[in-house]
Amino acid sequence: MEKEQYQQLEQSVTPKPPYFKNAAKAFFVGGIICTIGQAVSLFYIIFFDFTEATAGNPTVSTMVFFAMILTGFGLYKRIGQFGGAGSAVPVTGFGNAVISAAIEHKSEGLVLGVGGNLFKLAGSVVLFGVVSAFFVALIKYILVTLGVVSW
């Protein structure tokens, strides 16, 4: 059997991901996580000195804390298998990527293992976040200087 012929066979046998089902599950799980985030946020607004504008930071940190607990007990990967992007896209997913790598590489020590591999999976998110922030600021600065837009 030729390569091309085999690739055709492979295409016909391999099941397509259930797009709709996966999207629905992602919507549900992602929505729930964000709603929990909203509740945490409200908690900080009511019981501490945070406004709607400043409650974002403690909320995100708290969500990452929840991610640590769930990851440590091996529950986050079960949520991940069900929710797909629904649990990967919220910051809890970012936390899971960092924390799971940290736990995994503990066996190589705190410096070379945890330190060296902490951002093994999530490093690209930090990289592209910072770099794109730089370029967006630069472009906006140029546009403002040219008088195209204002701050």
Binding site: G30, P58, V60, A85, V89, V91, V114, G129, V136
Partner: protein, 121 residues
């Protein structure tokens, strides 16, 4: 206040669906998907569109990873506005995202107290 919860659910859900479609239809790995969304968040903030989304949906916009791009860009833009071109450069050293710091700290703590488990269910 109830509506804020509803909007948080819907907007957060929609951002996750976009991520799922990038993974399923676009065939991207989770790392590629998250990187893409962060860049999208940064660009949206540059256009001044992310802040309104946060006002509208609260945690529905601050909890998804797109808010990383937003908060990093926000810091850089604020510096650029204050100090001009130099600010664009120095802004990079001042920008922070609480998610990143939290992940580092909790990652370290998690490594100290937990062991990797491989069970399926």
């Amino acid at each position: 206040m109830v509506m804020t919860f509803v909007f948080a659910f819907i907007v957060g859900g929609i951002i996750c669906v976009i991520g799922q479609l990038l993974m399923d239809v676009g065939n991207l790995t989770p790392a590629h998907t998250l990187s893409t969304l962060v860049v999208v968040g940064a660009i949206l903030d540059g256009m001044g569109l992310y802040e309104p989304l946060i006002h509208f949906a609260g945690a529905g916009a601050t909890v998804p990873i797109t808010s990383f791009g937003n908060s990093l860009t926000h810091g850089a833009l604020a510096e650029a506005e204050k100090h001009g071109l130099v600010g664009v450069l120095t802004g990079m050293f001042e920008v922070t995202s609480s998610g990143i710091s939290a992940a580092i700290v909790f990652g370290f703590i998690g490594a100290l107290i937990f062991k990797p488990k491989g069970n399926v269910d």
